[in-house]
Symmetry: C2
Subunit: 198 residues, 2 copies
């Protein structure tokens, strides 16, 4: 239905995954700026121009995992069933993310994921680029919420909340606790934060 998977599309997706995986694994292994794009291209067995056809910048090689969620908040708001308030829809969506330990909620203790988050937050250029993404996400959400300064403000507040919640969760896990252990607190924090948004 929604997957008219031709040969071309399949191979492109695989190539993209191969590049992204090779990049992340090299970055985790040696650190962001100890790996050149040439190394990544070689590891993924593609040429440098091809790499940049798939990812606009070196930073995006790390952040595509966030970028793939870009516009998600806006979509959640648009696709909510009638009668459901936007904030409620977003709250439920975030909670569902917590329940399945989605990495974007920060509530995930797989070593790779933890290391990945540390990589992002401790590499200045990555953190910088990440905020760019969040701004785009914010704009999309604002559009979904309506027009004018009101929508903008609410969008900014919602995403700020999500950001704080995710970092809080991640911090607890970085301190050595398990995701399962943190889960109840994470849910409580989310409930509190989202109800204060109303």
């Amino acid at each position: 239905m929604s997957e008219p998977t031709g040969l071309r599309a399949r191979k492109k997706e695989r190539t993209r995954d191969a590049i992204g995986d090779a990049a992340v694994s090299l970055f985790l292994e040696r650190g962001f700026d100890r790996v050149s794009v040439n190394d990544i291209a070689a590891a993924a067995e593609i040429s440098k121009p091809t790499l940049f056809r798939y990812f606009p910048t070196k930073e995006d090689l790390v952040l595509h995992r966030f970028a793939d969620h870009l516009g998600e908040a806006a979509r959640v708001v648009r696709d909510r069933r009638s009668g459901v308030k936007p904030v409620t829809a977003l709250h439920r969506h975030f909670r569902a993310g917590l329940d399945r330990y989605d990495p974007v909620t920060g509530l995930n203790d797989h070593p790779e994921v933890v290391a990945f988050h540390r990589l992002v937050f401790t590499t200045p250029s990555l953190a910088a680029r990440l905020t760019q993404y969040q701004l785009e996400d914010e704009e999309a959400l604002a559009d979904a919420l309506g027009e004018g300064i009101q929508a903008r403000l609410r969008a900014a507040q919602v995403l700020a909340v999500q950001r704080v919640l995710a970092r809080t969760n991640w911090q607890k896990i970085a301190d050595g606790r398990t995701a399962h252990d943190v889960h109840p607190e994470a849910v409580a924090d989310a409930d509190q934060a989202f109800s204060q948004l109303r």
Copy 2:
């Protein structure tokens, strides 16, 4: 020197192998004419025109393993050290093939290899195409041996000998004996056949 391994060349080789392997494994599984080229292309995850860019006909999908040895006899003759007679060089080469159980000598009892030979010899269009290859090989060998009818005759006789030896070995193995067990007879047969060529 002979391996200017760029990305392009590496991927081409892999694609060729993927097609050949997919084809042979499907043929062994279901029989030559119960497998369409579309099936093979799908299994190898390439398109039909691409398949035919790598292999000119369906038969060649099976016979490329022989085709890869095409011109080998001629090369052996050309590359022999001075003072060595052509027939002697070919004899030694064949014997070396026996010693390492090279599939082209027929002296190999790996199930795949045996099944593969049966496939070739019991499928008329494959057997037919195989003789085409052998004719080409014969011409090349004739050129390496010199000019005129004499060279042609000797080339034909040498290749006929090799063909008979290979089929004899294969037959014994098809009857259930092991390659190791057959080896001494194979060597003896080869010695006798090649000395009669002089």
